[in-house]
């Protein structure tokens, strides 16, 4: 009998030792496949390749290096894939990564249709997914799920930033030039709502096909509308060609262009002479402070161009994810997601950022204006800060959320 009591005592002592040894154990951590694998998925060679593309892969590698290159003494690997802007390609690659290759987390994924398709796979397979590249706010509304984080920006924030600022400075009447697919429509809708709420009016819109090479005809229609502001609800090459044609046709003399989604690579491509004066909403800019400049120059060394906000967000996502794995002591997605929603994010991309229940990463956004050629002092010196949009005002409030995870 005594013997039995003794053995029970020893057993419970051992058990408590194991429990108390939690932190000690976490140092070795529990990792699926004995490693952490990060998948960067984006458009590697098409029209969005300069926004994310190979630069995002480099950004993810920089984050891994800054984290120390290893976690619990185990390797961290970065893999990459090209989704070609096709939802089916993106979804099947995500499936393959999760099922066969042991990828723990997917990051980037521009093009809203692909971004949403991958979110569905992440939910089904219960793995972490940080979307930095897509704009559609559906990712944190109708399509939200516990494993998806929408990290950098969304159509609500863009509309709210640029749209509101322009109406406030007197741009009351609007006409939209809209890319004829999900993203363009969403951006137009969100911006039109902001314009109307602020007391402006929308005179009309023209929908152009994706990748239209000539915009002069659409701009002539915009010109005929006599609206003060021409809102460009498109992206990448479409925006660039719209702005070029607008300049050529003298539209910018009497009307003002509002680029609703502009990346620094677009400005680089347009040149300041053409782009100067444009207002835009940015999630991050390399030339804001010493920390961002240091990151920007490091990135420039490798890629020969300054990082876009998407690329900076990829860096930050990977770093944030790795920190959460370390804190949770495991790469089990449920534990990591719980940890992610507890901690504040403080790094080169965001200050005091946090991830809400609907998956929205909330952080400050910036209203920028493109410099004139005279104001620009060195290469890639393109933006001046007009206004910081505080985190709480930048994104859609939870009270308006359509996400089923939010209990009202």
């Amino acid at each position: 009998m005594r013997r039995k009591i003794l053995s029970t005592m020893i057993q419970s002592a051992l058990l408590s030792l194991t429990l108390a040894g939690g932190p000690a154990l976490a140092q070795s951590g529990k990792l699926s496949g004995d490693m952490v694998k990060i998948g960067v998925m984006n458009d590697m060679s098409g029209l969005y390749a300069d926004i994310g593309g190979p630069g995002s892969v480099e950004a993810a590698k920089m984050a891994v290096a800054d984290f120390g290159g290893k976690i619990f003494g185990k390797p961290i690997e970065v893999v990459a894939a090209d989704h070609q802007n096709k939802p089916d390609v993106g979804a099947s690659k995500a499936r393959e990564w999760f099922d066969a290759q042991g990828v723990d987390m997917i990051v980037d994924v521009p093009t809203s249709s692909v971004g949403i398709a991958v979110a569905k796979v992440a939910n089904e397979k219960k793995r972490a997914y940080f979307n930095t590249g897509s704009a559609s706010k559906a990712l944190t509304n109708e399509e939200c799920n516990p494993y998806t984080v929408h990290y950098a920006y969304d159509t609500y924030a863009l509309a709210n930033g640029t749209g509101k600022a322009i109406v406030e400075t007197g741009g009351k009447s609007w006409f939209f030039l809209t890319a004829d697919y999900a993203f363009g429509h969403a951006l137009e809708q969100d911006t039109a709502a902001v314009v109307k709420a602020a007391g402006g009016q929308v005179l009309g819109a023209v929908r152009h096909p994706l990748n239209a090479s000539d915009f002069s005809s659409f701009l002539l229609q915009a010109q005929a509308s006599k609206a003060q502001i021409i809102g460009l609800a498109n992206a990448g090459g479409d925006t660039i060609n719209s702005v070029k044609a607008a300049n050529e046709f003298g539209l910018t003399k009497n009307q003002t262009l509002a680029g609703l989604l502009i990346f620094i690579s677009d400005i680089h491509s347009l040149g300041l002479k053409t782009a100067q004066g444009m207002l835009l909403t940015d999630a991050w800019y390399w030339d804001m402070n010493d920390e961002t400049r240091k990151f920007g120059r490091r990135f420039f060394e490798k890629m020969k161009r300054m990082p876009s906000f998407d690329q900076a967000a990829v860096y930050s996502s990977v770093l944030t994810y790795l920190k959460a794995v370390k804190a949770a002591g495991t790469d089990d997605a449920d534990a990591v997601m719980a940890q992610l929603k507890k901690a504040k994010i403080n790094d080169v991309f965001a200050k005091n950022g946090y991830i809400r229940q609907d998956g929205r990463m909330v952080h400050d956004m910036y209203l920028m204006q493109v410099k004139s050629p005279e104001e620009s002092k060195y290469p890639w010196d393109y933006f001046k800060l007009k206004k910081v949009i505080p985190a709480e005002q930048a994104f859609q409030p939870l009270s308006l959320s359509k996400c089923p995870l939010i209990k009202k």
Partner: protein, 295 residues
């Protein structure tokens, strides 16, 4: 103000004008394709990539060598033409006796390689190229505000197209060319160097693409993707006009530009597809194309 189907007449005239501008590009590119097809029996899929190279040569010579727009107009077609001759001598000349498909595959592969190379070097978002000062500004036509540069595009491409047509249809050199197309062996028997003519034809056809590229550089975006965005439409133009027909491709190019322009007013969502709609109609009614001859 008078209206046509609810669209003010002034706006309509403006759109017609713009259609003509786009039509000029279609005309010049499809002309090159038609000349090459007529002479070499090659469906030149590399045409878009060579057009893109023309624009990049203009950009590079300005950026690195300080050579302006006007010299580029001369330099780019010459360089692209020389590259064309190199391609013809080293690769294409072995394929003439084979099925069309082989030439198509070879040039398609070349297009992918050239595009990939430029994409790797310059990224995809494109590079700025400003309009030369002489052509900055615009004419006020009363019904529209026409940028001088767009007017220049129409003028110069029409001139080039007409000169090409004249050379092929009305000169002795053109007569040799047409003879060599009709019956190469007999023409050779008359002491005319047919392989040389074939080589020069290919060089000339792609030089036209290079020229169009320089014309496009200030108006559109200088980007590695600019060729592939356009080439499919240009092929449709060639099919509609009739493979190998010189005048046909010029007229069809301009005409389709105008049709596309009108679609942009009445139903903009369809503007990317209207050309293919016309293509289906034409193929059903006249399988050899509007200006083609059945063989």
């Amino acid at each position: 103000m008078s209206e046509v189907f609810g669209v003010p007449l002034q706006a309509l005239l403006g759109q017609l004008m713009l259609g003509l501008v786009n039509g000029s590009f279609y005309a010049m590119l499809s002309l090159g394709l038609a000349v090459i097809f007529g002479m070499l029996n090659i469906i030149n899929f590399a045409h878009g990539a060579l057009y893109m190279m023309g624009a990049f040569i203009a950009w590079m010579s300005l950026e690195y060598l300080g050579i302006g727009y006007w010299w580029s107009l001369l330099l780019a077609p010459v360089l692209v033409g020389m590259l064309g001759i190199l391609i013809e001598r080293s690769m294409l000349q072995w394929l003439y006796k084979l099925d069309h498909l082989y030439g198509l595959l070879l040039t398609f592969g070349l297009a992918l390689i050239i595009e990939g190379l430029f994409r790797d070097l310059f990224g995809v978002s494109g590079l700025p190229y400003t309009i030369p000062e002489e052509l900055a500004g615009a004419f006020n036509l009363g019904f529209m505000f026409l940028p001088k540069y767009r007017a220049w595009i129409v003028l110069s491409s029409l001139t080039v197209c007409l000169l090409t047509w004249f050379m092929i249809e009305k000169t002795r050199l053109g007569a040799y060319l047409r003879a060599a197309t009709e019956n190469p062996r007999l023409t050779q028997a008359f002491g005319i160097n047919v392989p040389l003519m074939v080589m020069l034809t290919y060089g000339f056809g792609v030089a036209l693409a290079g020229f169009a590229g320089v014309l496009a550089a200030p108006a559109l975006q200088v980007s590695p993707l600019m060729g592939s965005n356009l080439i499919i439409v240009v092929f449709a133009v060639v099919v509609i006009g009739g493979m190998g027909s010189i005048l046909g491709s010029i007229l069809t190019g301009l005409g389709l530009g105008v049709i596309e322009g009108l679609t942009k007013v009445f139903y903009p969502e369809a503007s990317a597809t209207v050309v293919f709609f016309v293509m289906v109609l034409v193929l059903l009614l006249r399988p050899a194309g509007l200006f083609g001859r059945e063989k």
